[in-house]
């Protein structure tokens, strides 16, 4: 691992060119993409929310569907950012060699990886906001504090984009991503408070869940959507920011090692 690979990221506004390129592609496929991002979380939010919700008393101090809506805003953000950073990022990096083409211009890998991270976060913003809108339309959002969920979603998207880009840098093929989904994403869906309160878990698992980024996103989103300022909001946002920054740095180092030997 050379010194050049470990160098701190040189951030610059040039990342926007990479972002704009991805957006231009997205605009051509926008409708199917929006539908795809929306349909999945919507279906299980409504299905589980109304289905289970009818059978359950209050969960976490609110109706189950309201409880689930907050969790779903975060989980759909996580899925969207992860998919974009991994499957789409890998397609661009390895299959289409788009990053190689961009690097032939006066753009550095730092710019490319930052552009990809911000793009994945942008896509996930659409996803999270869409679920938030549906929740609001169903009357599940109690206060204007919920507007702060929008920047929260972007920060969460950045965190998962960074982690996803680490996988992209390491991956030999699309199949490799299944490890990440099976061993990291899916467990997080279950232990981070999306479907049921973290307090339901055994104590040791509760402690472990505090290390995971999704837990912190949910811990901020749920109170906000319910009209309360989250306790320990600074801690939660710091954890997400840390994942975003360290994730991005590691992704950049590993991508340099892969592409610029």
């Amino acid at each position: 691992m050379s010194a050049m690979n470990l160098a701190l990221p040189a951030l610059s506004g040039r990342f926007i060119h990479v972002w704009r390129r991805n957006r231009l592609v997205w605009r051509k496929l926008a409708i199917p993409s929006i539908l795809g991002n929306l349909a999945d979380p919507m279906l299980y939010m409504l299905g589980l929310g109304y289905g289970l919700g009818a059978m359950l008393p209050e969960v976490g101090g609110m109706s189950y569907i309201a409880f689930l809506a907050a969790g779903t805003v975060c989980s759909s953000t996580m899925m969207s950012a992860s998919f974009e950073a991994m499957y789409s990022g890998f397609s661009r990096m390895h299959v289409q060699r788009t990053w190689d083409a961009i690097l032939n211009a006066p753009i550095t890998l730092d710019d490319v990886v930052l552009g990809e991270a911000v793009w994945a976060a942008s896509k996930s913003l659409l996803s999270g906001m869409a679920v938030l809108l549906v929740a609001w339309a169903l009357g599940l959002v109690a206060s204007p504090l919920a507007l702060l969920v929008v920047p929260l979603v972007f920060l969460t998207g950045l965190a998962f984009a960074g982690l996803g880009l680490i996988m992209t840098a390491l991956s030999p093929s699309y199949d490799f991503f299944m490890y990440y989904f099976t061993l990291f994403i899916t467990p997080m869906m279950l232990v981070c408070g999306v479907f049921f309160p973290v307090e339901q878990l055994p104590a040791w698992l509760q402690g472990f869940s505090q290390l995971l980024p999704l837990t912190h996103a949910v811990s901020v989103a749920r109170p906000l959507m319910n009209g309360a300022v989250p306790p320990q909001i600074a801690l939660h946002l710091s954890v997400l920011a840390l994942y975003a920054v360290i994730g991005f740095y590691l992704a950049l180092v590993l991508t340099r090692r892969r592409l610029q030997k």
């Binding site: 050379s2 390129r21 231009l24 051509k28 060699r97 190689d100 032939n104 753009i107």
Partner: protein
């Protein structure tokens, strides 16, 4: 500044690069002057593409110095790439975009405005012979068209120094000739070209000077004619076909001063 005839566009000295204990570039020196076409000729695996990547700052050398357009590489490679055009060996056009959109998006990486790029696109399409295909998807283009588009794309920032990595590999004869004529056009405009190739006809036809590279070393350098005069006899008989080996054993070895065999072909001088 750049493009001044005889001004040094690219300078490489003592360049070395190893991958896993294997020395791929084993100490080479190159100097490319303004307005010339400089070629790196060698078989596959000689280290040509690696040399190119090192010159562009896309890979870190183990030792040696590189200066491109007066700027040190890799320290200021990114800045230098702003005034350089690159045609890679493998096409990496955007499959999601049309011909025109590929040029537009690429121009943006150089910080050009939409208006500036739109002003250049007609000439670029004309140069590539793709004026009628501006709205075509990349998948609809032939190999030769894609290569011409890649060449036009490399010119979007109006560079004075252009790098081409095996520009006609994989193209049919007509497509090759079209590319050569375009490169000739660029040289006539005073641009400098650095190309790698394994085709001797291409090197001889296009290059003012060339370096022959093998196993990471430059083993000969000079103008094509001068290299031929220096290293090869005036007459060479090429013998191939059924019984060529038997002929060599029975006659060739005795009748010729020097007999070299490559595969099923014999070169006798």
């Amino acid at each position: 500044m750049s493009g001044t005839p005889n001004m040094q566009q690219l300078r490489v000295s003592g360049l070395r690069k190893s991958y896993d204990e294997r020395e791929v570039v084993a100490g080479i020196d190159i100097e490319v002057r303004g307005g010339e076409c400089y070629g790196l000729l060698g078989p596959n695996g000689a280290g040509k593409t690696t040399t190119l990547k090192l010159c562009l700052g896309l890979s870190e050398p183990d030792s040696g110095e590189i200066t491109m357009l007066g700027l040190p590489v890799p320290a200021r490679a990114r800045e230098a790439r702003a005034r350089v055009g690159i045609v890679p060996q493998v096409d990496n056009l955007d499959p999601d975009f049309t011909v025109r959109e590929n040029l537009l998006v690429y121009g943006r990486y150089f910080g050009l405005s939409r208006a500036e790029i739109d002003a250049r696109i007609p000439d670029l399409l004309e140069f590539a012979g793709l004026a009628a295909r501006a709205e075509s998807r990349i998948q609809a283009l032939s190999g030769g068209m894609k290569r011409r588009l890649t060449l036009a794309r490399a010119l979007v920032n109006d560079p004075d120094l252009i790098f081409l990595d095996e520009p006609t590999t994989g193209l049919d004869p007509q497509a090759r000739h079209l590319i050569w004529s375009r490169l000739r056009q660029l040289l006539n405009q005073g641009k400098t070209i650095f190309l790698t190739t394994h085709f001797m006809d291409e090197a001889e036809r296009l290059c003012h000077r060339l370096a022959i590279m093998d196993h990471g070393r430059i083993i000969a350098e000079g103008a094509p004619r001068a290299l031929i005069e220096r290293h090869i006899e005036p007459q060479v008989v090429e013998v191939y076909g059924e019984g060529a080996e038997r002929w060599a054993a029975e006659f060739g070895a005795r009748a010729a001063e020097r007999c070299e065999r490559t595969g099923e072909t014999l070169f006798c001088c």
